[in-house]
Every structure is written in structure tokens, then in C-alpha cells.
């Protein structure tokens, strides 16, 4: 299996789960709850989530697993799908 594909699946799955988590945060930010403290906490967590997601996107963009495999595996052959014709 292509290593890039594995990391893409991890990326997609994490993004999906984190989007659901952000929805939970937004729900608790907006809903009429008990007092203002849960909303303040949700506001802080939403900011943190945005920051972490930006960091996650940068880390994902900078990541090239195929390149690492190529550097560390003697006699490594690139998958046909990545080879230029």
C-alpha cells in the first residue's frame, strides 16, 4: 500500500473527527446553557482548536513519507503511480 495514501487516510480521518469536535464546541458556545462559564471555556477551546488545526495542516503539508522511505531504504523503488512517464 502506498505510504502517502496511509498518511492521507490518517489526515482525512483526523480532520473529520476534529470537525465533529469543533461542532460540539460551537454547539456549547451557542446554546443557552447554565451560566456563562461553559461558553467562555468553549470560546477558549475553539481558539485552541483553530490553532491546532492550522498546525496540523502545516505538519501534513510538510510531510512526505515517500521521500523519507526513499532516503532510508537502500534499493527502494518508487511506486509506479508516482513515477513520471
Amino acid at each position: 500500500m502506498n505510504l502517502n495514501l496511509i498518511f492521507f487516510i490518517i489526515f482525512a480521518l483526523t480532520s473529520f473527527l476534529f470537525a465533529i469536535h469543533s461542532f460540539f464546541i460551537l454547539y456549547h458556545l451557542i446554546r443557552f446553557g447554565v451560566g456563562t462559564r461553559p461558553k467562555q471555556a468553549a470560546f477558549i477551546f475553539f481558539g485552541g482548536s483553530l490553532f491546532l488545526f492550522i498546525l496540523f495542516s502545516i505538519a501534513s503539508y510538510a510531510l512526505d513519507p515517500e521521500e523519507i522511505l526513499k532516503k532510508n531504504t537502500p534499493g527502494y523503488k518508487e511506486p509506479l503511480i508516482n513515477q513520471e512517464r
Binding site: H28, V34, T36, P38, F56, A59, I68
Partner: protein
Amino acid sequence: MIQFFTRIFKESHFSFDGKGDNEIVHIFLYQHWITLIAPLFGMAAFLVFPVIPLFFLSGFIAEYNLEGIVLFLVVVFYMFMWSSAFFTITMYLLDTWIVTSNRIIDTKQNGFFSRTISEMTLSRVQDISVKTEGFMQTIFSYGDVEIQTAGTVDKFVFKRVPHPNQVKDKIMHLVRIAQENEGSSGK
């Protein structure tokens, strides 16, 4: 939009869903902060978890050009930690006990989208007991306040609330006022 966000910080700390216009909030309780410390300490210990292999395996990581993968995995780990911290703190902040001028409201949050809200009229309260158990509860002055009403088997329990004796005294005082008001309006 800006107004909405500023309202979050300006609105009363004692606001809640279904609050009457003339209703005065006398007691607004969360569990004692010490109950939040244990799970947060556990999480703080986990936060250090990715740093340890980074410290010991830095040579190996640099040699095999694994910085990218390590950074990616560490960020994913912190995202999950952030989510669980949000869950813990939200559950703590949404578990509340409110005593107003005419009723007691117990809000129990069971999950992000599940909660149980129980309510009782102050004038129906018969007796209140306080339970403080163990070293921690005695030292940090927190415990359970159990409220028994007329005609019901189940008790209302304020779990691990700070200064339970003061809470009990204040509720008893409010109950007396509520019963007097009910008596005078019934005449």
C-alpha cells in the same frame, strides 16, 4: 456577531434556561475545583508523553529524517488531548446545582448532548443532611448535601460541593422563608 461574543462575557454568571423574571438566584454551585484537578493532572502527565521519546530519540529521528512524521504524530496526539480536555471541563461546568428564591434545580450533564434536569419546590423540602467523608473532603472542605422532600423516596444530592455546611444553612434559611410565604399566601 461581535455583540454575540461580547454577550458571552457580559451575561450574568447565574443565567440559566427557564429562569423566571422575578426569580433570584441565591446559590449557584459547581463541584469543588479539587474534583477537576485529578483528571487534569492525568492529562498534564500525558502532555509530557510525546516529549520523552523526542528527548531520548532525537539522534535517531535526525539520522533517519523522521522530523516530519514525528511532528505530524505529535500534533495529532495533542489534538486528541485537546478534545478530551474540552470534554472534561465542559462536563464539570455543566454539572450545576442552583437554588433560587422558589426552587432547586439539579442539572446533570451525561455527555455532550445528554443531560438530566431535576427540579423541586423549596417549600417541599423537609430535611437536609451533609456528608463529608475522608481526608480530602475534610481538608478542602467539600462534601455532599442531601435534600429530602415530602412524599418522595429519592433524595436530591449536591455531590462534592464546596462548604456543604454553609450551603445547608443557607438552603434551610431559604426553605423557611419559602414556607412562610406559602403559609401567608394560603391564609
